[in-house]
């Protein structure tokens, strides 16, 4: 990728000129390629090590082409756990949501794909992205997406029943149920539907509770959703419209933020801002605080900036785009805003760089082994802009008194096949009624269910 088409011409002209040119290419390319042996684990926890930012001619990239799951293959779990598929043959499942009666909603979604080509890079990045987001060969992946499937686990080992719950959505992601009010966060609006316990299909038409920033660019399009503990408000994550303002600061109005939406009126306010791409919005069960996982900015190096897990404080500003991890100024933003940088606070817990956390679930059940109780599971979709893969797994972060209290440890791995391909990629996570961990695997077109080994009875495959 770094070969230079002009080298050929240079050789045929005059050796000296050619040598000079080649030396120049080498010098600049080499200064950019200094990955080294950075200890990724030094960026897991409350005080991540932050190397100096680097800017590149060509940022380091390593993509995992999708191969999908072969029959019988599953992700790996440590001893004491077992994993099986709850549902297969899905179309890009991204969110799992557990209804009070134990039924599981699987939100299948594809991006709106409305981002205009503004520069040559957009053409190339579009092509690059098609590699790693295209659905794998394993399961019915070319079918219709942007719909929600309901899965009801069969009684006594019977196979789970699937039914089409809600169709023709606009790049949906978040789901929240309050009483009989079911909210689905499409990319451009929070939709309201009426749901009754036991329903397997929504028949009534939806209404718009609150429009959300969608097109025309809609760079980060996933709108994560959670209800406040008292049910009066909804919190919705609205990701930024760019990596780092390259679509203009005016495109970022009301974005890179978590909105608080009044459930009665639909009115909204910015609850917290400076959060580049917040997902996995969840209420911590002990403290009732709002938490999220956030995807930080790209192209400052393989080990910048760490993605993170954080409690989200009312009115807080977390830096994007002007600074990262507190008050580390990003030189790519102009005009700079020292006044805002001065307000920026660091998040609670780094997950390391470019792991792309998209799912968060607090472990509320009691059926998993003791060591996986009381903390948080994080679905890490996996890296693309670093030399060595990072993420592509579900990790567990232990919590004590409502705060992270130790190193994240791997729980579900094996999404990469060891040969640089992705069999699946984890996105949303949830705890089901039995206390098992559910994982939406978008390119693997599967929802996985992790249970205690020997404890709970898992549904058959």
């Amino acid at each position: 990728m770094r070969s230079d088409p002009t080298e050929k011409a240079a050789n045929s002209v005059r050796r000296r000129v050619a040598a000079l040119a080649v030396a120049g290419v080498a010098a600049v390319v080499l200064t950019g390629a200094s990955d080294g042996q950075f200890d990724v684990s030094s960026q897991i926890g409350p005080n991540p090590k932050l190397p100096e930012p680097h800017q590149y001619l060509l940022p380091p990239m390593h993509l995992a082409p999708v191969v999908g799951w072969k029959k019988g293959e599953t992700p790996s779990v440590p001893a004491g756990l077992k994993i099986s598929a709850l549902a297969t043959g899905l179309q890009h499942p991204r969110t799992v949501y557990v209804l009070p009666n134990g039924d599981v909603l699987i939100v299948q979604s594809k991006g709106p794909n409305v981002e205009p080509i503004e520069r040559p890079k957009d053409l190339i990045m579009g092509w690059v992205e098609s590699f790693v987001t295209s659905s794998g060969g394993s399961g019915g992946s070319q079918g219709k997406s942007n719909r929600i499937t309901l899965v009801r686990e069969g009684a006594d080992g019977q196979p789970a029943q699937q039914s089409l719950f809600l169709d023709n959505l606009n790049s949906p992601f978040g789901v929240a149920l309050v009483g009989n009010d079911l909210y689905v966060a499409d990319t451009d609006a929070i939709m309201h539907y009426t749901y009754h316990t036991g329903d397997t299909k929504i028949t009534g038409p939806g209404t718009v509770l609150t429009p959300l920033p969608g097109g025309p660019i809609d760079h980060h399009w996933t709108k994560s959703l959670v209800a406040s503990p008292d049910g009066s408000k909804l919190y919705v994550g609205v990701g930024s419209n760019s990596n780092i303002t390259e679509n203009g600061i005016e495109a970022e109005k009301n974005r890179a933020a978590i909105w608080e939406v009044d459930r009665q009126t639909g009115a909204h306010r910015i609850f917290a801002s400076g959060l580049r791409n917040p997902n996995g919005l969840s209420i911590q069960p002990q403290t009732k605080a709002l938490w999220a996982v956030v995807n930080e900015r790209d192209e400052l190096g393989p080990d910048l900036v760490p993605d993170y897990l954080t409690s989200v404080k009312d009115g807080a500003f977390y830096g994007w785009p002007y600074s990262y991890y507190g008050q580390h100024v990003d030189p790519r933003v102009m005009p700079q805003r020292p006044d805002l940088v001065a307000k920026a606070i660091p998040p609670d817990y780094a997950l390391s760089s470019h792991v792309a956390p998209l799912g968060l679930a607090f472990s509320t059940g009691t059926s998993l082994p003791q060591k996986y109780q009381g903390g948080a599971f994080v679905g890490e979709h996996g890296s693309w802009d670093r030399d060595r893969f990072n993420g592509y797994k579900v990790v567990y972060v232990p919590f004590t008194n409502g705060q992270p209290s130790g190193k994240a440890e791997d729980v579900v791995t094996g999404f990469l096949d060891g040969k640089g391909n992705a069999r699946g990629r984890p996105v949303g996570v949830a705890i089901d009624k039995s206390g098992a961990l559910l994982i939406a695997d978008d390119v693997g077109n599967t929802v996985w269910r992790v249970t205690s080994d020997g404890g709970q009875s898992a549904p058959s495959q």
Binding site: D4, A9, V13, R14, P120, E299, R332, M334
Partner: protein, 153 residues
């Protein structure tokens, strides 16, 4: 009437050399990229750096075509190769293309550092070298009559 035996252009269409048909594109594109870089530097309006990136990309594309055709002329004629101006023109334009390719990668960065300072400097240096190579190219045609027809009208 006296006739000159002018150095010939190998890559030509019906006696019209192709190289001069292509070179206006990189020249205009690279000068334009300097102008739009200056505009971005002064305004921080992303439209201008996007302009620069397109200009550089198109300029490089046509520049490579012009280089191939120019190389054919260069290799195809001993008399062209005997000209000092031809060596300086060709060598200088390789430098121009290499600079522009670096510059295009720099312009593929996001936001401010796609231009300031490295992109802007590279755009300016590219245009300076281009002035020199352009001068040498004009010398080849207007002084040494490379590609000029031997037949007076």
């Amino acid at each position: 009437m006296s006739y000159y035996d002018n150095p010939r252009s190998t890559a030509s269409l019906v006696g019209h050399p192709i190289h001069p048909m292509l070179v206006p594109f990189p020249i205009v594109c690279f000068i334009g990229a300097l102008a739009t870089d200056i505009a971005y530097w002064q305004t921080a309006d992303m439209m201008w750096t996007n302009f620069s990136a397109w200009l550089l990309t198109v300029g490089i594309g046509f520049g490579v075509l012009a280089a191939i055709v120019g190389l054919i002329d260069f290799i195809g004629s001993r008399r062209v190769r005997d000209l000092g101006a031809a060596w300086m023109h060709a060598g200088g334009n390789v430098v121009v293309l290499v600079l522009a390719i670096f510059n295009d990668f720099v312009h593929s960065r996001d936001a401010w550092t796609s231009v300031v300072p490295t992109g802007l400097i590279l755009s300016a240096v590219t245009v300076l070298v281009l002035l020199f190579t352009g001068w040498m190219g004009w010398a080849m045609v207007y002084r040494h009559r490379v590609g000029v027809s031997n037949n007076a009208l």
